[in-house]
């Protein structure tokens, strides 16, 4: 079955950068989905059931923490691997991230090598 990755960030260039970083996975049949705010992200997660979600914390409408909490604690979708992305200096978020059930926590600017290797790990590629 085709695996899906959802990229959620209100900044277009971040969405584009993450897609660019994971470009080679397209050849493995991975489909990329994007969302620019938490509400849309929640819809897509429920509808498309992506394996991996890159979730920015600071967004309008609904922030990443809330999305994560709903997915992990309320809807209890265990198969969705969530990577929270946040700006450096917001280390307190790390603890909150754990509380809402995030799987991995990364700071921006993210290390593209790490993003790629994590994605491959979660999707079971290479």
């Amino acid at each position: 079955m085709e695996q899906k990755i959802l990229i959620v960030d209100d900044e277009a260039h971040i969405r584009m950068l993450i897609e660019q970083t994971l470009e080679e996975l397209e050849d493995e049949g991975v489909e990329f989905l994007t969302a620019e705010n938490g509400e849309i992200a929640l819809e897509i997660i429920q509808k498309e059931n992506p394996k991996l979600v890159f979730l920015d914390v600071m967004m309008p409408k609904m922030n990443g923490m809330e999305v994560c909490r709903r997915v992990k604690k309320e809807l209890e979708l265990k198969d969705v691997f969530i990577v929270l992305l946040t700006a450096k200096g917001q280390e307190l978020d790390r603890q909150r991230g754990q509380e809402v059930g995030a799987d991995v926590y990364m700071t921006k600017p993210f290390d593209p090598e790490i993003i790629l290797s994590k994605a491959k790990e979660v999707l079971g590629i290479e």
Binding site: L17, E19, Q20, E26, K88, P109, D111, P112
Partner: protein, 559 residues
């Protein structure tokens, strides 16, 4: 151009896909799209196509549009779309590279904040540089302003740089670029000539490390391959160089501050140690202060102490025979011998006055007495040495008194001194001068005797009382015989009780008796000068009688 697959453009359910489908529907004949291998991507193929048109990207065929002559439109459209997609991808890759670079710089910044050691910063910088800009070798050179030489705090990779030659040829480096530019250079003939780099190095990339406009050094990387370095590499290296320059500058400033602070502290400590030698620490402590800097005009304390004076008999006559330099050496060596004796007996030297020493024993009169005996022995030792050198013996007199003393800081704002003011000092000085009079080397007052602990090994002879010039009260003078050499001490010890008895008779004006006893003493101990003195006095009183109102006390007519 980046690689683009036609499948990704039209093969998926997206806007392009829908639009192309709609377009194909419009055409009369069936049209379909295949990839470069003939695999169907979109549309419904018929048996044989009337026409086929390629979709190109960078002179490469990445797919086919098959159908009738109208398929050309679609092929052209797809070619255009594919090209746009490729451009977008290329831009995306560039942005990603920049982002990665940003990440490197961010992380590097964080690393730099973790350390304040310039050498560690240099090493971290070089590691990061080689990690991001693959090279066969690298060094960081820093100019040491103090030593006026080039240092190499970090090196990595193969041994392609000869550090010794590097250090010895700063001029060459300046020529190739320590001037402040950052470059990629492939003309390495001069460097190879000087043996600074190995011959198989093809190119160098270096970035100057600057703070404001001062050049501190450079990061230099070496590569053996052709076209190893690009403009992008240079940009990154320049950024790393800038970051590390500031960090190294701060670190060196920090080290300099620490060093200077330590030097100041050491200097202060030295001054403190030295002041202790000029103003006795015990004096300052008695005032309740720790250091000379804590002391104020007017600080004072009153204490019961024993004051001891010593000086060299007939010093004026002695010094006449010596040059000023000899005089100085003489007094200096005298003081050098006696000083330790005083200190090892809980006393401190308050003042040196020419050939005289004034010492204070704040704890116990016994300390002073022990010190006095020790000092006498030291003088005997000195005389032995002088005799061997063919010099005359010297005699020293020691006098002490116990009483109240005020130690304080006196003077004015700009000239202060530690002063000891009290009658005790004057009395001690007078007692010391009495040693000349009674021909006895060690005298103390009855006050000192009173404060002494009963259990002691000292032996005393009472020499009667004196009425010091300008004073009304009588003072009892006592001689301690422990300081004499063995023979003299034994003799005096034997005649001790007799002597005291004789003095008793003398005081009671029983001069006949006194005379007899003194003479007996002198038979046994002809060197007892003090006994001689009193014998003469006895004889005098026997001859002339005593003055009116004679109390037995000696009247001191001079100081």
């Amino acid at each position: 151009m980046a690689r683009v697959s036609l499948k990704n453009i039209v093969g998926k359910k997206n806007e392009i896909n829908s639009a192309v489908l709609a377009l194909m529907d419009q055409l009369k004949e069936a049209t379909w799209i295949e990839d470069e291998n003939g695999k169907l991507l979109l549309g419904n193929p018929t048996e044989t196509p009337g026409s086929l048109f390629p979709v190109n990207l960078d002179n490469e065929i990445i797919g086919w549009v098959k159908g009738d002559e109208n398929s050309l439109t679609i092929a052209n459209l797809l070619t255009y779309l594919v090209q746009k997609e490729a451009e977008k991808k290329k831009l995306g890759t560039e942005v990603l590279n920049l982002y990665q670079e940003l990440n490197v710089i961010y992380n590097f910044s964080e690393q730099l904040t973790q350390t304040i050691d310039p050498d560690v910063i240099a090493q971290l910088t070089l590691e990061q540089a080689i990690h991001s800009i693959p090279s066969d070798s690298g060094v960081i050179v820093l100019w040491n302003e103090e030593k006026k030489q080039l240092g190499v705090p970090a090196r990595s990779g193969e041994l392609l740089f000869n550090e010794e030659h590097l250090r010895n040829n700063p001029g060459v480096l300046i020529k190739i670029g320590l001037s402040g530019q950052s470059e990629i250079i492939t003309d390495l003939s001069l460097l190879k000539e000087k043996g600074i780099i190995e011959n198989d190095v093809h190119s160098l990339i270096y970035a100057a490390m600057k703070v404001k406009h001062r050049i501190m050094g450079a990061i230099i990387l070496a590569g053996k391959n052709v076209e190893q370095y690009s403009a992008a590499h240079l940009k990154l290296l320049v950024t790393l160089a800038l970051q590390s320059s500031t960090a190294i500058e701060s670190a060196m400033l920090y080290e300099k501050n620490i060093r200077e602070a330590r030097e100041r502290e050491e200097a202060m400590l030295r001054i403190h140690e030295v002041t202790k030698k000029f103003v006795p620490h015990e004096f300052i402590r008695s005032l309740g202060k720790e250091t000379l800097t804590d002391v104020k005009l007017g600080d004072q304390v009153e204490k019961i102490v024993t004051v001891l004076f010593t000086d060299i008999r007939d010093f004026t006559t002695l010094s006449e025979k010596m040059t000023p330099e000899e005089n100085f050496h003489f007094v200096s060596s005298f003081n050098a011998r006696l000083g330790p004796v005083i200190r090892s007996n809980n006393g401190f030297i308050n003042q040196y006055l020419g050939d005289s020493i004034m010492a204070i024993f704040p704890e116990n009169p016994e300390d002073a007495l022990r010190a006095a005996v020790g000092m006498q022995k030291a003088v005997y030792e000195l005389n032995k040495e002088r005799k061997e050198a063919g010099l005359s013996s010297i005699r020293a007199g020691i006098g002490m008194h116990t009483g109240s003393l005020i130690m304080g800081i006196t003077g004015d704002e700009f000239r202060m001194d530690a002063a000891t003011i009290s009658d005790t000092v004057n009395t001690a000085a007078r007692i010391e001068s009495l040693t000349k009079y009674y021909k006895s080397p060690l005298l103390l007052s009855d006050h000192t005797l009173q404060y002494l602990n009963g259990q002691n090994n000292f032996h005393f002879r009472h020499l009667g009382s004196v009425k010091l010039k300008g004073k009304n009260n009588l003072l009892s003078i006592i001689e301690c015989i422990n300081g004499f050499d063995e023979l003299q001490f034994e003799r005096k010890l034997q005649t001790l009780s007799q002597f005291n008895e004789a003095m008793s008779s003398y005081h009671d004006q029983q001069f006949e008796n006194a005379l007899q006893i003194f003479q007996t003493i002198l038979t046994n101990d002809p060197d007892d000068l003090t006994a001689h003195y009193f014998l003469n006095n006895t004889k005098k009183y026997l001859r002339e009688g005593v003055p009116k109102n004679w109390t037995g006390a000696e009247e001191m007519v001079s100081k």
